[in-house]
Structure formats: structure tokens, C-alpha cells
Amino acid sequence: MSLSATAPIMIDVRGVNKWFGDFHALKGVSLQVRSGEKVIVCGPSGSGKSTMIRCINRLEPHDEGHIFVEGIELTDEVRNLAAIRSEVGMVFQQFNLFPHMTVLDNLVLAPMRVRGSSRRDAEEQAMHYLTRVRIAEQAKKYPAQLSGGQQQRVAIARALCMKPKVLLFDEPTSALDPEMISEVLDVMVGLARDGMTMICVTHEMGFARQVADTMVFMDHGEIVEIAPTQDFFAAPKSERAKLFLSQILAH
């Protein structure tokens, strides 16, 4: 999984600051992600990891700095925003499937309404991705009839149906029972192998070692360290990253 250093920059975060009231959530965050790159973001809770990736598709607006997705700057301009959001897929900690729709309807809604696909094409595509996340037989069920791991795989398939150029994962396995984590991680490993550009907030360090090109360590709203995965796990440069790793790998 080597990454070409000449691949175009897909996401460019420059000097972003964000406040929630008095709380300084992101402090001068800068990050470049190249096409095909897999970035894992780790750090203690409250360190701003989720806020950062939520800024990348503007679920949270940033207060200062610039964010570019494929060269288009994220602003309040509605046309830009819709264009960017349809290229950037997101998988949430709580899945956020639409409970009043079947699995299949969850998947076809956005392609039909945003991309203008016909129902037939959208369903065909949906079944393709459901097969890929190994859950095709559940297409006619409602989300609540599925296990957490199955729901999260549906959520991944739903994001894939928009054929995004980047996938953002916000702690995708944190709400899952332990026995269901690996079925979701397996799907994510598969996506990584196929060359999907990914930014993933997670505490699953085994998974990180396996797929990440780049590790990002955040603490107190700052990016403390950005390093190639092997270097990061072999010898983190900062004391805070060392401490964090020793705590999280102790068990």
C-alpha cells in the first residue's frame, strides 16, 4: 500500500481554527491528504479529531483558515457545498441510517435525488455495494432489524453509492459490540486495498497499522504529530503521542 508522493492533493486543510463558544476546539490545524491516501487520526477524547473531519464536509463550519476539497474552497456558498458533499462520503459513529426506510431505500435515495439516477440503476448499484459489504440478503429489511455491525456496513454501502472520492469515518466502530467490530473493519480494509482515499478517526490501532499511510495524532485541538505509519508506531516523536500509545496499547 505504498502511496505515490505525486498523487494530487485531494483535501487541503490550512490553518483552521474553530471555537465552540469559549472552547477553542481546533487550533491552527493544517493537513494535506493526497488522492488514494489513508489517514488515521488518533488522540485522546476531546482532542478535536471528530470536529476536524466534520469540518471537512462542513457539518461544522470552521471559523478561521481555509479548507479545499479538490481545489474547491468550502464556504457557505450552497452550490459549492452540495458539490463537495456529494464527493465526500461520511460514516458516523451512530450509523444514522434512516429508520423509516428499508435498507435498499436508504441506499437509493441520494443517488436518485442528487445524481438523478433512475430507480433501476440506483437499485442495481445499491445491490452491488450491499454485496460488497456482504449484506445483500438484508436489502428489504428496516435498519432496526439489523445488528449494529450490519447497520454500520449498510451505512458504508450508503456512502459508497454516491461514488465519493473521499470517505470520512468518524469513530465507525466505537458504538459497536466487540464481536461486531471486525466485520466492519474487514470491509474498511477492503476499501483501503481498492485505493479509496480515507480519513478515519479511530482507536483501533491494529487496523491503523494495517491500512494507514499516514498517522495523525491530535491533542487539545492541535495536530501534534503527522508521520508515516511505521515511524509513528516505531518511535513517536512527541511525548504526548508516546504516552497516548503506551496507554492505548497497554491492554
Partner: protein, 260 residues
């Protein structure tokens, strides 16, 4: 049919209290409404003829107020402060106008101010709908706000437009939750329509008042009026409960916990 036995007993008990075992020296004169006498039959038909307007005015008013209320509730989620303020102000003002005052204001005020004279039916529908729309707006606001924020975020992240997000994601879930209070409002509208008797809409209450003038038997006629509303509202609540049960059955389908 849960409508049947328990409710019939209630009706029976009421008639007994009013008719048979009333204390004091009052002598009931039920002959005015006796189905055995030609005069009584005429009177009964006359009273019952008001039911059309009562039901029609309530249906029209609720239909309009639901649409109005929804439109007013939508800016609730807006990030635009002014849109929220407009919606808030509308609710606060209309919520504080008493229904009867609104009826009089619309019926006597509109012709003077705008040189249009709505008929009693139109004026009644407008007045009821306006007053009720503030409450409908509050019901919808609560329903919309009860939908998990993650639902809207997922819709946003997929690139859905605002209209699609509301139409496919937020409102279908919100409306299921607000059906019981909406049904309640309808029952309330059926009763409140009696206020329109003051501007001369020939609904149930107006008919009763008119008959009293000629028969001079207010207690019998008002008692019968109570009965009319009772039956009407029992039917309405029964329909509302049926609708709720059907929605609940549909809900169970997608809220069933995983049982595999």
C-alpha cells in the same frame, strides 16, 4: 369496536341523570324533541341539520391550519435568526388571541379594512385556522426537533438539498410522532366551531339557539346539544385512535429490535 359498549353506557348514564333523577322541581319537557310527535321529529331534524357545517368547518379549518402550522414551524431549524424570529412572533401573537375575538375580528374587521366581505363559513374557517395554526406550529416544531440531529447530518453528508432532507428524512419521521396531538387538535376544532354560532353560521349550536327562541325549552335543547357533540367527538376520537394504531403497527415494523 371499542366505541360501542363503554361509550353507550356513558351516554345512557348522562341521559338518566339529565332526564329521570334530576332533583328539584324542574319538570322536563322532552316532548319538544320526541321522535313520536311530528313536531318533535321536525325539531330533531332541525337540530341535526347543523352537523354538516360543524364537521365541514372543522375539517376545512384543520386542513388549512396544518399546512400553515407546518410552514411556520419549518424555520425552527433554520440557522437564519430572522426566519426564526418571524416564526416565533407569529406563534406568540396568534396564540394569545382568544378564538372568539378572532372570529369577531375576521367577520367584522375584514370588510372594513380590506373591503372584502367573507361569508360566515369562510370567515369562520379563516378565524379558526389562524388561531389553530399557532398551536399546530408548536406541535410540528416539537416533532421536528425530536428527530435526532444525526438524521439531518446524514442527509447533509449525502448532499441532499434542504427540501429533499425535509421531505424524505425529517418530516416523514416527525409527522408519525405528532399524529396523536394533531388528532387532538381536530377534536378541539369540532368543539370550538360552536363559537361560530355568534356570527350566524348554522352549525349545531346555532341551530339549538334558534330552536330555543321558538320552543322556549333551553334545558332540553342544550342537553340534546351536549349529546350531539358527545357522539360527534366519540366518532372523531375513535377515528383518530384507529389511525394511531395503524401508524403504530407500521412503526413496529421498523422499530423492532434486532431479534436474530
Amino acid at each position: 369496536m371499542s366505541l360501542s359498549i363503554r361509550n353507550l353506557l356513558a351516554v345512557l348514564a348522562l341521559t338518566l341523570v339529565l332526564g329521570g333523577c334530576g332533583g328539584g322541581s324542574y319538570v322536563w319537557g322532552w316532548y319538544v324533541l320526541s321522535p313520536k310527535l311530528p313536531k318533535g321529529q321536525d325539531n330533531l331534524l332541525f337540530l341535526l341539520s347543523g352537523v354538516g357545517y360543524t364537521v365541514a368547518v372543522a375539517l376545512c379549518a384543520i386542513a388549512i391550519s396544518v399546512v400553515l402550522g407546518l410552514l411556520i414551524a419549518l424555520p425552527t431549524l433554520s440557522t437564519n435568526r430572522y426566519a426564526r424570529a418571524v416564526s416565533r412572533t407569529y406563534v406568540e401573537i396568534l396564540r394569545s388571541v382568544p378564538m372568539l375575538v378572532m372570529v369577531l375580528w375576521v367577520y367584522y374587521g375584514l370588510p372594513v379594512l380590506f373591503n372584502v366581505s367573507p361569508g360566515v363559513f369562510t370567515a369562520g374557517v379563516i378565524a379558526l385556522a389562524l388561531c389553530d395554526s399557532a398551536f399546530e406550529a408548536e406541535i410540528f416544531r416539537a416533532g421536528i426537533q425530536s428527530i435526532d440531529r444525526g438524521q439531518r447530518e446524514a442527509a447533509d453528508a449525502l448532499g441532499l438539498s434542504y427540501v429533499d432532507k425535509m421531505r424524505y428524512i425529517v418530516l416523514p419521521q416527525a409527522i408519525r410522532r405528532v399524529l396523536p396531538p394533531l388528532g387532538n387538535q381536530f377534536v378541539y376544532m369540532l368543539k370550538t366551531s360552536s363559537l361560530l354560532s355568534v356570527i350566524g353560521l348554522t352549525e349545531l349550536t346555532r341551530r339549538a339557539n334558534e330552536l330555543i327562541v321558538t320552543e322556549y325549552r333551553p334545558l332540553e335543547i342544550y342537553s340534546f346539544l351536549v349529546l350531539e357533540y358527545l357522539v360527534l367527538i366519540m366518532i372523531a376520537s375513535w377515528l383518530v385512535r384507529r389511525l394511531e394504531r395503524r401508524m403504530a403497527a407500521a412503526d413496529r415494523q421498523f422499530q423492532a429490535k434486532n431479534n436474530s
